[in-house]
Amino acid sequence: MEEKEIKNNDEFLQELIKTYLPHKDNLIQMLNEVQEHYGYIPMHAQKCLSEYLDIPMAEIYGVVTFYSRFSLEPQGKYKISVCLGTACFVKGSQKIMDRLTERLKIKPGETTKDGMFTIEETRCVGACGLAPVFTVNGEVYGKASVQKLDQVLDELMKK
């Protein structure tokens, strides 16, 4: 299993290198693609970019940890993001976040031990008309409430 994964990863990185010129300013663009593909920025990808773009590892680490979109840890199977933008906050999204941390017993930014759930605070997904909202792997659940969250969680846990 692991061997196959590494091989696939390599293919992805090979492909990535082909699409971008080795210019230093492409770093963030490439990291965005790595994040999208793996769900996090693995060490071997950092090494690969460091060599290809001729940027020291320390600098890459600096960039990865600066931007909130990048993560150094693998993400859970279900990534639940609660919008804490002002429009959602005013409509009570903090209560939904509180409930989520209470039920999954992890803090925002963390992943459950079984690798099932990651929770995240996000600032405005742009669906302010549906406030408060939370998303599960990008799918938006609008006009949310604690009850609705419980329902969704129960269903995901059954799967």
């Binding site: 965005n32 600096g62 600066f66 909130s68 429009a87 742009g126 008309g129």
Partner: protein
């Protein structure tokens, strides 16, 4: 690559074909079903609605009806929105399973689906868009094409005067003429600070260099704001065209659009728009055969609020940590890779083509003396008509909240409006009649900001709101300068103590002092404006801070540690309803006894307040 003649032909033919989009009396047998594909409506399944319409039309073999995706109509609260033209019938809250009925009743039988017609706040059924109070006081310049054209079809953009401004600029005007026109229009930066756009262009032109850049700031980080996103989603070409005009004026041939990766739909539509513009010869070499070259690249942000600050944004485009640079030199002199760079916000660019086509004189008749044109706001929070509004400068907050926004839901009272997000301030009730423009907002301690406008009702605690914004700035501070990195953290700690009932009066004094020194000593806009939410809430709601500090009370019952919910004995009718609903059985009393809350058990969830039919429960 199309010749000039081909483009003129496309414009003429398409314009005739699309007349029904803006003319209810259009002479045509065709019908267009417009389905909103802004992020709000997309989240509530509008792509599925579009798909269903197409399938049903095909199954029923109906001709002369086209289904089209458009950008945001603005009234997000009623989404997903479907509009049928030319008759301009406005269907709201449409679900995918409603498509069959709409086609059968509206298209086949020629009647309207009464139950899906949009209702105004007063309950009146609205026959068409223009009848809605929401639209009556609006004036659309930057959002002109949003909800009218298909953003992924360049020919529809061309039909509505698209790329005509660029043609005029390149073929008939000099660089200085373009800059003069923009200067004369009085347009100011829509990103928040309000720097005169024409002056910025002139400044960037004045520096000699072998390479210059035009950058579009689409890193809309203010939580609760979605103006720029809606423009990019609904009318991406207007931004591209304006960037080219700016490029011509300052002498640049390369542009970058820095857009948040959190806006996947906007990014996708931009990519399509750039590709089409290249195919038609609007981007690339020798545009309109005038020898002018220009090309645009997209750069994705990666979730850092500070990158909305222009110099941090430049660092990020260069692939580095987005930490602001010390100014001066300003980007106009030394920007991207040390070259003169013009940075404007999406909405600023969206105004440019209209100024070129209709003239600076026309533009400067709209708005107030020092703030010309319109401003787009993302209206949100405790207001009935949540959505995107574009109003002439000088419109009062009251008009926006009550006439356009339809007032506050659930019969509550207006408490404050927040503009400018984490950098702005709040506007209390007594300033509801302030005309909205750059100067008057600054005078009352808020700012125009990029356009987030959050309305709060009387159930919101202003201390907790200030805490919310400080949490945001603390997590988004880039860490480069000490006042912002450490100072905002200390401010947040004081606010947390206030909300937890552990602060005293001296803390409020310290909070204020810290706010002033952070404002004075931070190096970039983020730090300099981070204390604003605290300063302005202190200015208008000092009583609430004092109540938290001295009486340990939160009148809005939001800060749990300092809230106390009680039952008014006189009003209590002993119905026992609150007792049934209380999740922790904190309400005591039996039979005809007046109920009492056991404060040790109460978790201040507020369920009883909402439940009581006699409004006997409160603080």
């Amino acid at each position: 690559m199309k010749t000039l003649e081909e483009i003129h032909n496309i414009r003429e033919n398409k314009r005739r074909e699309l007349d029904l989009r803006i003319n209810t009396k259009a002479d045509t047998r065709e019908k267009h079903i417009l389905v909103c594909h802004g992020t709000g409506c997309t989240s509530s399944k509008s792509p599925q609605i579009l798909e269903n319409f197409r399938k049903i039309l095909e199954e029923k073999n109906i001709e002369n009806v086209r289904v089209i995706m458009t950008g945001c109509f603005g009234l997000c609260a009623k989404g997903p929105i479907v509009i049928i033209r030319p008759e301009d019938t406005f269907y709201s809250n449409v679900r995918p399973e409603d498509c069959e009925e709409i086609i059968q009743t509206h298209i086949v039988e020629g009647k309207r689906v009464e139950r899906l017609l949009c209702k105004d706040i007063d309950g009146k059924i609205v026959n068409s868009l223009d009848e809605l109070n929401f639209y009556k006081k609006q004036k659309r310049i930057a959002l002109k094409n949003c909800g009218v054209i298909n953003p992924q079809d360049i020919e529809e953009y061309i039909a509505f005067d698209g790329y005509r401004a660029l043609e005029r600029v390149l073929r008939e005007m000099t660089q200085d003429e373009v800059i003069d026109e923009i200067k004369k229009s009085g347009l100011r930066g829509r990103g928040g600070a309000g720097f005169p756009t024409g002056k910025k262009w002139e400044l960037t032109k004045s520096y000699e260099a072998d390479q210059k850049y035009v950058v579009c700031n689409a890193d809309e980080g203010d939580p609760g704001a979605f103006m720029d996103r809606s423009i990019l989603e609904g009318d991406p070409h207007s931004v591209l065209e304006a960037m080219e005009i700016a490029g011509f004026a300052i002498g640049a041939n390369k542009g970058y659009i820095y857009v948040r990766a959190e806006y996947p739909i906007a990014v996708k539509r931009l990519k399509v728009a750039i590709k089409q513009a290249r195919e038609y010869g609007f981007l690339g070499k020798n545009i309109f055969n005038t020898g002018f070259d220009f090309d645009v690249e997209i750069r994705l942000g990666a979730g850092a609020f500070v990158c909305g600050e222009e110099t941090a944004l430049l660092e990020s485009i260069e692939g580095k940590r987005g930490q602001p640079r010390i100014k001066p030199p300003y980007p106009a002199e030394s920007g991207l890779w040390g070259k003169p760079t013009l940075i404007n916000n999406v909405e600023t660019f969206a105004n440019i083509t209209q100024i070129i086509l209709k003239g600076a004189d026309w533009f400067s008749t709209i708005g107030t003396e020092n703030s010309k044109g319109t401003k787009v706001f993302a209206l949100g929070g405790n207001v009935n008509n949540i959505g995107l509004v574009e109003v002439p400068m000088g419109t009062t907050l009251r008009e926006i909240v009550y006439d356009i926004g339809g007032g506050i839901p659930n019969g509550r009272d207006f408490k404050a409006a927040q503009t400018g997000g984490p950098s702005g301030g709040c506007i209390p009730k007594e300033h509801l009649d302030t005309p909205i423009d750059y100067e008057s907002l600054k005078e009352i301690g808020s700012m125009m900001g990029s356009g987030g406008l959050i309305i709060m009702d009387d159930t919101k605690c202003m201390v907790s709101l200030a805490k919310f914004y400080l949490q945001f700035t603390v997590s988004e501070s880039c860490g480069k300068c000490t006042p912002c990195r450490i100072g905002t953290k200390r401010m947040l700690e004081i606010l947390e103590r206030l909300c937890d009932g552990e602060a005293d009066e001296y803390d409020v004094y310290k909070l204020e002092k810290l706010a002033v020194s952070i404002k004075k000593s931070s190096i970039c806009g983020l730090g300099q404006s981070a204390p604003n939410p605290v300063i302005s809430t202190l200015k208008y709601f000092r009583d609430e801070f004092r109540e938290h500090a001295i009486q340990k009370e939160c009148r809005a019952l939001e800060c749990k540690a300092v809230s106390k919910i009680e039952i008014d004995e006189e009003k209590c009718k002993a119905c026992g309803l609150c007792q049934k609903r209380c999740p922790v059985s904190a309400i005591e009393g039996e039979g005809r006894e007046k109920r009492k809350i056991n404060q040790d058990k109460c978790i201040k969830c507020g369920t009883c307040i909402a439940t009581c039919p006699f409004h006997a429960i409160g603080n």
